[in-house]
């Protein structure tokens, strides 16, 4: 752990976070709103990296977990407001995602590789269908509007999202550097050998799914009460999941921090290029593709490579 505090990357991270914390004094509400969404997306991407980068499970359905969290929290609030505190709704959302994570983990422990990836995709599609079919409860394709929000103060929302990202990131990063992170990596790379070394691979993978689901769901639920609405297009659609995955890969697999950088970059780029209209998305995609092709270790890999030479 001591070595962590002596790395340049650590102090760079601290500097960037301090900068982010004082940003509301200078930036417009528009920029703050954008970054708030980016910070939640960062948590989605970091949670995903725990599964992919460490446990070695390619989850094509991060939005299954995010959507469960978001919709559970949103529906509870809509049904029981004001009798139910939104914090209880948020916790319930996180727990629903954890249950979803366990459900997702069951096929992962039986099948691997592309087959597991397919089951996660199907999970997303099923959740999406569920939302559309039970429109009375979920708002269907129009979306669900929740009566409460955490606060309408833009700066407060920004700080909540930033604080949440920092705490989640610290926990996920710490976990990835702990004994459990090492065992997860070993299981992800060679589960036969991990078993022969005495590690219960199933137990560790299940734990990774639960932790990943918890943070995904929590972030989804918090984001609902920031936005005031939940819709399939923002929380469940496969394209949202793809964006989360691209963010994590773009930032640097197996780094946790890289996922956060990738998320902020993706959201930021999308917004900067917005004047280009329809062209914005393909341009961002091409940039992402180029980074993945030429720097498979992502932004953090590029940074480290420079530091080394």
């Amino acid at each position: 752990m001591r070595s962590l505090f002596s790395t340049r990357l650590f102090w760079l991270t601290v500097a960037v976070l301090v900068g982010a914390a004082v940003l509301p004094q200078f930036a417009s509400g528009y920029v703050l709103g954008l970054l708030t969404v980016a910070y939640f997306t960062a948590v989605f991407a970091m949670s995903w990296d725990l599964l992919f980068g460490f446990a070695g499970e390619v989850n094509f359905g991060p939005t299954f977990l995010i959507g469960l969290g978001a919709y559970t929290a949103g529906i509870l609030d809509q049904q029981f407001s004001p009798g139910l505190s939104i914090w209880i709704c948020i916790i319930a959302g996180a727990l629903a995602a954890v249950i979803g994570g366990v459900v997702l983990a069951l096929p992962a422990l039986r099948v691997s590789g592309p087959y597991f990836g397919l089951t996660t995709l199907v999970a997303v599609l099923m959740l999406q269908n569920f939302v559309v079919v039970f429109a009375d409860l979920t708002g269907g394709e129009i979306g669900l509007s929740v009566p409460d929000v955490i606060t309408i103060d833009q700066k407060a929302n920004y700080w909540i999202a930033l604080g949440f990202m920092v705490v989640s990131g610290a926990i996920l990063f710490g976990l990835s550097r702990s004994s459990i992170g090492l065992i997860l990596q070993a299981s992800g790379q060679d589960k036969v050998q991990a078993g022969a070394l005495g590690f219960n691979v199933a137990k560790h993978k299940l734990a990774a799914f639960i932790v990943s689901a918890f943070f995904s769901g929590l972030a989804g639920a918090l984001m609902v009460f920031y936005m005031g609405t939940a819709s399939v297009g923002t929380f469940i659609d496969v394209s949202v999941g793809v964006q989360v995955i691209i963010a994590a890969v773009l930032g640097g697999r197996r780094t946790v921090l890289g996922a956060a950088i990738g998320a902020v970059f993706l959201i930021g780029m999308g917004e900067i290029l917005r004047p280009l209209g329809e062209l914005a998305t393909p341009i961002v995609s091409v940039v992402a593709l180029a980074v993945v092709l030429f720097f498979p270790n992502g932004f953090l890999g590029m940074l480290r490579g420079e530091a080394r030479s």
Partner: protein, 489 residues
């Protein structure tokens, strides 16, 4: 049960669908005893090892470890009962140092202990020193030579002080001096009173080390006893030796082409700092069979990859008098210079037939059919396996398919890189017969890269010895022993 027995296996059986991989196998190992479990490819020895480790569940039978039945337990439980497995291949954590990789093996299987105890560091260092990794503790696995990666496997397996150590092919790919060091380490286990099971292809490789040998063939025990007894056993001899190989080298002057069809002139290849090939010059005549022998890492594969255009090189390679440098690997293959690589590179999820059809993709349909028919005669087992997915073939069958696929491309020169790697003697005989037939009935030239001299010499008209990236000797196979054996061994 006898009290002096540590591992007692009785009636162990494993079926995969219709295939019986292990049939009614029984044996025991005492503390401080080394048992060699040997058998050719597909004999079931690896399956037996996996059954003990809990990687596979036995169909029937008991496995008593110190009197407790561990048959059917998952492998992490078997490991905690005191069984360790030294893997032949594995994937270490590339971003962690050697020391950290060893520490992983010492971590508790717990979700609540986030950070390792401080004494783990000292233990890991002691283990690293013991297996000879003391000097490279802070390095990362991708930068280590092969032998050190094997040491790392050994280190991980003994980290938890297993009572019973299973070792999969302990000496594969190691040089003579490395083999001696590994043997010493394994003897150390015996002195500490651990039981050791060595799994290997043949008796010879483990004979100096084992107290007892059990030979398997087609899932069953065929012999048990001292190494000498097992080597003298008539069933074992029949399984391993088959028939004798006799061929005669043709003198170089008997080949009619004045300019050799392949000329490799002063070729050098380096990977970063490492010089893999240094000023190598060889040539092959039309119809000639040339063997390049050399130990692992001598530069054989690099030489072949340079010829096939897969690595950049300095120097010149000419095929039918024309330089090859400007051509892509695919174009080189289409000129009739075809390589059958060491790694085989089969399309695992395609059938035998589909693999062969892809090899003959550029032939007209009629010719492709004829060639396929001819190859299925050359390797009759492939006919029986025609519809099977190639990934499910045994090692020997995969090698035959790889050669057959290369031959489907109608090569004029076939480069065979280590075709015998990891194969049992019975299979070698089949390969030998196929090569003999090619030599007797076709005008093809063959460039054979081998570590196994006894396989390489009978098939060669001429032999080159590659040693530490240089051509160290050239001559007819008859003079090899007298002039070059010292260089080679």
């Amino acid at each position: 049960m006898r009290s002096d027995v540590m591992l007692d296996v009785t009636g162990l059986t494993k079926r995969f669908g219709g295939l019986v991989a292990v049939r009614d196998l029984s044996f025991s190992i005492r503390p401080g005893e080394i048992l060699g479990l040997i058998g050719p490819n597909g004999s079931g020895k690896s399956t037996a090892m996996k059954l003990i480790m809990g990687v596979e569940r036995p169909t029937a039978g008991t496995i008593l470890l110190d009197g407790e039945n561990i048959a059917g337990l998952p492998s992490h439980k078997v490991a905690r009962k005191g069984v360790g497995l030294v893997f032949q291949h594995s994937r270490p954590l590339h971003r962690q140092t050697v020391l950290e990789n060893i520490k992983v093996a010492l971590l508790p299987d717990s979700l609540l202990r986030l950070f390792a105890d401080p004494h783990v560091d000292g233990q890991a260092r002691a283990i690293a020193e013991r297996v000879g990794l003391g000097k490279v503790m802070e390095r990362k696995p991708p930068t280590l030579p092969f032998a050190d990666l094997r040491r790392l496997e050994l280190a991980k397996a003994i980290a938890r002080h297993p009572k019973l150590v299973l070792v999969d092919e302990p000496f594969a790919g190691l040089t003579a001096s490395e083999t001696r060091e590994f043997s010493e380490l394994i003897r150390g286990f015996r002195e500490e009173g651990r039981a050791v099971l060595l799994v290997d292809h043949n008796v010879k490789s483990v004979s100096a080390l084992v107290d007892r040998v059990l030979a398997m063939y087609l899932g069953e025990r065929i012999a048990e006893g001292s190494a000498a007894q097992v080597m003298a056993d008539p069933t074992v001899r029949k399984v391993y030796l088959g028939g004798a190989i006799t061929t005669v080298a043709r003198p170089e002057s008997s080949f009619k082409d004045v300019t050799p069809v392949l000329q490799v002139d002063n070729v050098s290849v380096s990977y970063g700092k490492a010089q893999a090939l240094q000023g190598a010059s060889i040539h092959v005549h039309e119809g000639e069979f040339v063997s390049v022998v050399g130990l692992n890492g001598a530069g054989k594969t690099t030489l072949f990859n340079a010829i096939s255009g897969l690595v950049p090189y300095a120097g010149e390679i000419r095929w039918e008098g024309k330089p090859l440098k400007a051509l892509s690997p695919a174009a080189i293959a289409r000129t009739g210079l075809v390589q059958c690589p060491e790694t085989r590179e089969l399309f695992g999820d395609m059938s035998v037939r589909e693999n062969l059809d892809l090899g003959g993709h550029f032939l007209p349909p009629k010719e492709r059919e004829e060639r396929l028919e001819w190859l299925l005669e050359l390797f009759p087992i492939l006919r029986a396996r025609r519809a099977q997915m190639s990934r499910t073939l045994s090692g020997g069958e995969q090698q035959m398919l790889a050669i057959a696929r290369a031959l489907m491309m109608k090569p004029r020169l076939l480069i065979l890189d280590e075709p015998t790697l990891g194969l049992a003697p019975v299979i070698l005989e089949t390969l030998s017969k196929a090569l003999e037939k090619l030599r007797a009935t076709t005008p093809i030239s063959v460039l054979l890269g081998e570590q196994n001299v006894t396989f390489a010499l009978p098939h060669a008209d001429r032999v080159y010895v590659l040693d530490h990236a240089r051509i160290a000797w050239e001559g007819p196979p008859g003079r090899f022993e007298a002039e070059a054996a010292a260089t080679y061994l």
